[in-house]
């Protein structure tokens, strides 16, 4: 495959790794709008996409960007955009559009300090809830939380794969630290990289149903392939025609969320560090988890039985494993760069009587290990 990053070892910026991963995953369309701290992705794609025969366009705003991404994907081309908090907010309506029309697409959100314009150049993790609940109505998405340049690369490929497999919009919630840091990247042999394509219709156009409820995930007819189907953002029946029928509309909404809910155990991923005999469970993700891991390592050497549960997917959240762990530990301590987002999910799923503490930290910087260590020591009363 000419033009793609060759297998080997690299020292690379997180944002660039995301761009190269997208190309390896088959992305050949990027529409975006400049926003710090994701600009490196757009700039890289504007340079690289024409080299591999793809298309880059800088649209007039974020709304136009994400809608153009959906248009390109509807025509059969894997497409993505990258943004940060303010752009992510603008794109929310299209999260619902992608869900209703079942168009695969990827948004990379390099999270920055908020709210509003916030601090464009510094880190935040305040978009976790918005990723899941930001659009109106009922839908499901998949959101990945990389904590290294390698994961930024790996999870971008995963995001394209799951988008294609489930015909949904997926997100890579990198934070500004991961996006801007330099780190080690190992690009594997292409034969080891699984690439998923959306399922194509196997029947003739007159037998094809665009929203065939006999499937959990119907095969997707792309524009111009001769199927001549109606894709509608209005609630629709199996033929794709708008419907206000009670049964038809409920069946559609249920199918759209069941796609993910029935597969959450296959999709959710997490990392556990020293959790086997832990009595204090730390929960952290993204760049924060790097600080927390340092703290766990150091305190373990002193005999504290502290462990780390690191979700790699914010959504679906691996709640079943969290519940298991919560039944074995005494306390849970959630550390995140926001004023309280994942802690709500933890509270929802953890064992009922467990003590859940929270370290909200939102100054635009990662909490450094010393800061977290002090808090953990206090928790132990030491």
């Amino acid at each position: 495959m000419p033009g793609l990053l060759r297998p080997g070892k690299y020292f690379m910026q997180g944002n660039i790794a995301i761009g190269e991963a997208a190309l390896i995953a088959g992305c050949r369309f990027y529409a975006g709008y400049p926003i710090t701290p994701s600009n490196e992705i757009a700039e890289w794609m504007s340079r690289r996409l024409p080299e591999v025969g793809g298309v880059f366009i800088q649209m007039e705003d974020e709304i136009g960007s994400i809608v153009a991404v959906l248009g390109a994907s509807a025509a059969g081309v894997k497409a993505m955009t990258a943004t940060s908090g303010p752009g992510f907010s603008l794109m929310m309506e299209s999260v619902g559009l992608a869900s209703m029309m079942e168009i695969p697409s990827v948004i990379v959100n390099v999270m920055r300090a908020g709210p509003s314009t916030g601090i464009p150049t510094l880190v935040g993790q305040g978009d976790i809830m918005q990723a899941k609940w930001g659009s109106h109505g009922d839908y499901e998405i998949i959101a990945y939380l990389p904590n290294s340049v390698q994961e930024a690369f790996d999870f971008t490929i995963k995001a394209f794969n799951t988008a294609e497999r489930y015909r949904i919009m997926t997100m890579v919630l990198a934070d500004q630290v991961i996006g801007h840091m330099m780190g080690k990247l190992i690009v594997p042999d292409y034969s080891e990289v699984e690439l998923v394509e959306r399922e194509k219709p196997t029947v003739s156009p007159d037998q094809y149903l665009v929203a065939d409820s006999r499937y959990l995930i119907p095969p997707m007819a792309i524009a111009g392939a001769g199927y001549r189907v109606n894709y509608d953002s209005l609630t629709h029946d199996d033929r794709g025609y708008p419907s206000v029928d009670r049964e038809v509309s409920f069946r559609l909404v249920q199918r759209l969320v069941r796609k993910i809910r029935e597969n959450e155990r296959k999709i959710a991923e997490w990392e556990e560090y020293e959790t086997d005999d832990a009595d204090l469970l730390m929960v952290a993700y993204g760049c924060t988890s790097r600080s927390v891991k340092e703290v766990v390592k150091k305190l373990r050497r002193e005999g504290f039985r502290v462990g780390l549960f690191r979700p790699k997917t914010a959504w679906p959240f691996p709640w079943w494993r969290l519940r298991e762990l919560s039944e074995r530990v005494n306390k849970i301590l959630v550390v995140e760069i926001n004023m309280g987002q994942m802690v709500h999910v933890v509270r929802e799923y953890a064992a009922r009587d467990i003590d859940i503490m929270h370290v909200p930290y939102a100054p635009g910087y990662m909490p450094d290990p010393g800061y977290i260590e002090g808090i953990v020591r206090k928790v132990y009363g030491a």
Binding site: V52, V67, A72, A74, M101, A223, S233
Partner: protein, 297 residues
């Protein structure tokens, strides 16, 4: 158990007989969805017919035609055509069409939207797509009002109009769509009404042939606008079009704004047609240059 609406539709219209005029159109119109939802006196039924006829006469295989629409009465139109149709969110069909066309330049992409969808909420996408001269077609059905939601004012509502959100009379100046399109860089601009049926179909065919950003404004009657503004019965607005429309292809665009004043002419025609390299052509040249190792830096 399907609802009462669906039962009436299937029972009464299962045996539609069509004449030779419509037999050809069956190829392009979803007869199983008739009757359409447009009101009595609405021009959209005529635009639907005209567009279907133009698609069949365009010389482009119908499988390559794609319709993209936003929200509103006009937004429902591509769903009645037997083409790949995408009914997206309000104001956004042009951005969606840009993505479709760039991903597959073989597609003949036509955006169909109302004045609210395309030049009010969708104004930003409209002017930028025109600026870039994307090779897409935009049909703007202008009824001077937001019809689907009951009759609120929009960016083309004439001064003084009575609408549900201007009950004391409208105090805003409207857009002049051909002028806006021209200023933004559109390379094919025309305006007709549905009663100028033959010209409308011919212009749609020219629009398909045109390489570049094509804007066709169709001034349409709408009972929601008409009943509050001097056109109380279904035929009043089309009678006004018949009596006051003047075809002038050389018209001076700043002078052809629409006031719907019975003393003023309503200027229609094919106003602008030039050939300029499209965004798709320019980007294709870029790809060829870059993949031969000719990158700038």
């Amino acid at each position: 158990m399907s609802s009462a609406v669906d039962r009436v539709r299937l029972k009464d219209f299962s045996s539609i007989a069509l004449s030779t005029f419509y037999k050809g159109l069956e190829e392009a119109i979803r007869i199983d969805r008739m009757p359409h939802i447009f009101c009595p006196g609405c021009g959209l039924g005529i635009v639907l017919k005209g567009l279907a006829e133009a698609i069949l006469k365009s010389g482009i295989p119908i499988e390559k035609h794609v319709g993209v629409s936003g929200i509103g009465c006009t937004g429902r139109l591509p769903g009645y055509l037997k083409i790949d149709a995408y009914h997206v969110t309000h104001g956004r069909p042009i951005a969606f069409a840009v993505g479709l066309k760039l991903a597959n330049p073989e597609l003949e992409v036509t955006v169909v939207g109302g004045d609210g969808d395309i030049v009010t909420i969708g104004g930003n996408h409209f002017i930028h797509a025109a600026r870039r001269n994307h090779d897409i077609n935009v049909i703007i059905v202008n009824n001077f009002i937001y019809g689907m939601t009951g009759g609120q004012y929009g960016a083309t509502t004439p001064v003084g109009s009575y609408t549900t959100t201007s009950p004391h009379g409208h105090v805003e100046y409207p857009f002049n769509i051909p002028l806006l399109a021209y200023a933004a860089g559109a390379t094919f601009i025309a305006r007709w009404t549905p009663i100028h049926y033959a010209q409308m179909v011919d212009t749609f065919i020219q629009m398909f042939e045109h390489k570049g950003f094509a804007v066709v404004e169709i001034i349409a009657p709408c009972v929601l606008y008409g009943e509050r503004n001097r056109f109380p019965s279904y035929t009043d607005m089309v009678k006004y079009f018949r009596d006051r429309c003047v075809i002038d292809n050389e018209a001076d665009l700043p002078k052809i704004g629409i006031s719907l004043d019975p003393k003023e002419p309503l200027v229609i025609g094919v106003f602008h047609k030039v050939r300029k390299k499209t965004y798709e052509e320019l980007y294709r040249e870029l790809i060829e240059r870059v993949s031969k190792g000719g990158a700038k830096e």
